[in-house]
């Protein structure tokens, strides 16, 4: 199983940039890296996905180094509503099992 490791928790303040790193040393060649956000009592929500280098959308950026053994989710100028648990997930074609990490609980303070 491809395993991921993330910090258990992070704290930040409104307006700051937050970077959450996920380690995945045994990522497979076919694996994409996907990040999800989960609020209490809701299902995980897709944020961003990438394979290598950098991906940016309207809510976040995803940085993936050349060796792909880690990835960093970057949230620019967080607000209170970004307080949630963030998960990274490895996934792709072929025979593998989607494995969520423990998630990072981000708390944004006023």
């Amino acid at each position: 199983l491809a395993k991921t490791t993330q910090p258990i928790s992070m704290d930040s303040y409104e307006g700051q940039e937050v970077n959450i790193t996920c380690s995945h040393n045994n990522i497979a060649t076919n694996d994409y890296i996907t990040w999800y956000q989960q609020f209490p009592s809701q299902g995980p929500r897709f944020i961003i996905q990438g394979y290598k280098t950098k991906v940016t959308n309207e809510v976040a950026s995803l940085f993936i180094p050349a060796d792909r053994k880690s990835s960093t989710l970057s949230l620019p100028r967080v607000s209170l509503s970004d307080t949630a648990v963030y998960y990274c997930l490895l996934g792709g074609g072929g025979s593998y099992i989607p494995t969520f990490g423990r998630g990072t609980s981000l708390i944004v303070h006023p």
Binding site: Y36, G43, F46, Q49, G93, I97, P98
Partner: protein, 112 residues
């Protein structure tokens, strides 16, 4: 126009009972999943179906039986419920296995 829907949202039942949770997706995806999220918030895959075929069955007791009548539906039937089955169960779907999954709102199961 909900993408992935589950029913019921809450389910409270006694030990030993049999219950079912239903899931439907209107995204046209080929792959559907069931996940279990326990009290420690650990999200663990249970099953995955691709076009009505079971492709992942992850160390789940055989009291749990998924059924996919068509590729838009994946139901979960649980026999002889136990206290440890209490958790939130999420259904999800995607076009490719493990890539870009859309999750349902979850079903909170409480076994008394």
């Amino acid at each position: 126009d909900t993408a992935v829907s589950q029913t019921p949202k809450y389910l409270v039942t006694q030990m030993g009972n049999d219950k079912s949770i239903k899931c439907e997706q209107n995204l046209g995806h080929d792959t559907m999943y069931w996940y279990k999220q326990d009290s420690k918030k650990f999200l663990k895959i249970m099953f995955s179906y691709n076009n009505k075929e079971l492709i992942i069955n992850e160390t789940v007791p055989n009291r749990f039986s998924p059924k996919s009548p068509d590729k838009a539906h994946l139901n979960l039937h649980i026999n002889s419920l136990e206290l440890g089955d209490s958790a939130v169960y999420f259904c999800a779907s995607s076009q490719l296995l493990g890539v870009g999954q859309f999750f349902g709102p979850g079903t909170r199961l409480t076994v008394l």
